[in-house]
């Protein structure tokens, strides 16, 4: 067996490499995942990344990965032939936080995807978070507050202590906008997964 290469922090200076638009260079993707032709409900996700004292983390990068509105991932391992791929939608996006620790994504609400056994998981978005001061990234998930019944039967959510579950649920506000803050530490520390 080859041994894994160790993680090191993304550091404070990643943006011209990974989210480089403001440096006049095209990135591989941005924080707008959905176009006018993308199928499904267009939604906005917005939130902040906060440290253990509630200070904004202004040098984090959030990456999201999700299925399309029908519940299919744009990846060769997802072979659900009965659900169409949406060729306008890769399912991946990136956003660097601003000076107030804010991030946002324009995307579509994902469909449900298969879970363990023959179950369906509640609609969710997978998230990777990196920042200066983090030597290793963290994984979390975003669920949707208006999917109460699907959330109630989701095995991953169910595995989380009830008092901490709300940290994984984005709250729908006015219009199709969901609020999702990520707390790296502290009383409202987000649930991070050993993924």
């Amino acid at each position: 067996m080859a041994k894994q290469t160790a993680s090191q922090t993304i550091g404070p200076y990643f943006s011209y490499g990974l989210t480089p638009e403001e440096y006049g260079r095209a990135g591989i993707c941005g924080n707008v995942l959905a176009g006018a032709d993308t199928k499904g409900e267009a939604i906005k996700i917005e939130g902040r990344v906060l440290d253990g004292e509630g200070n904004p983390v202004n040098d984090a990068m959030i990456e999201i990965w999700q299925a399309n509105a029908g519940g299919r991932y744009n990846h060769p391992v997802d072979t659900s032939a009965d659900i169409e791929l949406d060729h306008t939608f890769s399912g991946f996006g990136r956003c660097a936080t601003d000076p107030d620790g804010r991030f946002w994504f324009d995307t579509v609400k994902p469909g449900a995807v298969p879970g363990p056994g023959n179950t369906l998981q509640a609609p969710h978005i997978s998230i990777i978070l990196m920042a200066r001061g983090m030597l290793l990234h963290t994984f979390t998930r975003l669920y949707f507050s208006d999917e109460e019944s699907a959330n109630a039967s989701d095995t991953v959510l169910d595995s989380v202590e009830a008092s901490r579950r709300p940290t994984l649920v984005a709250v729908r506000g006015d219009g199709p906008t969901y609020r999702f803050d990520i707390h790296l530490q502290g009383e409202d520390e987000t649930v991070f997964f050993e993924a």
């Binding site: 080859a2 200076y13 490499g17 991932y73 991946f92 998981q121 997978s126 998930r141 595995s159 050993e194």
Partner: protein
């Protein structure tokens, strides 16, 4: 089909809280990580191939030229991206970024009093070939000071970002240079618990990769999490 990926090797990867690196204090989760059985959401991930690349993306000595050649020691870094089972990982995107030869990042927030090179951005990309091989041409980055502790200096390094075949194989890391005396006193390098794992972050000088009359060569391989034989139960 892959049913699961092996766990992150905790002897290899740094902890979230590492006292010598002060910024980890308020940015490290305190709760234990929540176990997660891999589902389709973890076994899939973004796919980027050569269509994601622009011409010269793999040559940092040429991809930001305005009015002349960037200054510094020209170098090549090449190697393979493998999984833990020793398989080369084809068609996986690598993104790199680094300081210039003087130790200055082009990033707006870098205030280090060292010159910006107008002909050097310090960012590149490439995609591995069928055997998992990659290759960049760049300039050797300079060391630079950082405010973590008195007289702190980061050893010269190149930042690497890789995807691999799924969302859970994602890795961001740093490549270092052999013989750098700053490695001995760098908290970020030393946050890696295992000494051999630290050493694997250091590239090897390679005469074979070196191009005569042109550029010094280094070899550096990267190993991502591999598929595990049995599904992991949470």
């Amino acid at each position: 089909m892959v049913e699961s990926y092996g766990a992150l090797d905790r002897d290899v990867h740094p902890p979230y809280l590492y006292g010598e690196y002060k910024s980890t204090a308020l940015r490290s989760p305190k709760n234990a990580l929540q176990p997660l059985t891999h589902t389709l959401s973890e076994l899939t991930g973004p796919v980027y191939g050569s269509e994601a690349l622009a011409p010269l993306d793999d040559d940092l000595t040429r991809n930001a030229v305005k009015d002349g050649e960037p200054l510094g020691e020209r170098m090549i870094v090449a190697g393979r991206v493998l999984d833990e089972n020793g398989n080369g990982l084809p068609n996986t995107l690598i993104e790199i970024w680094q300081a210039n030869a003087a130790g200055r990042y082009i990033h707006f927030a870098d205030q280090h009093d060292a010159p910006i090179d107008p002909n050097f951005l310090g960012a590149g990309r490439c995609v591995t070939d069928d055997d998992g091989r990659y290759r960049f041409t760049t300039l050797r980055p300079g060391a630079y000071p950082w405010p973590n502790h008195h007289n702190g200096w980061r050893p010269a390094h190149i930042h690497y970002s890789l995807f691999g075949p799924s969302f859970v194989t994602r890795l961001v890391t740093q490549m270092y240079f052999p013989g750098d005396p700053l490695l001995d006193i760098d908290p970020i390098f030393h946050s890696v618990p295992d000494a051999e794992a630290r050493q694997r972050l250091v590239a090897e000088f390679s005469l074979e990769t070196t191009e005569p009359e042109w550029a010094i060569g280094y070899q550096w391989d990267i190993v991502l999490r591999g598929a595990s034989a049995t599904p992991r139960e949470a």
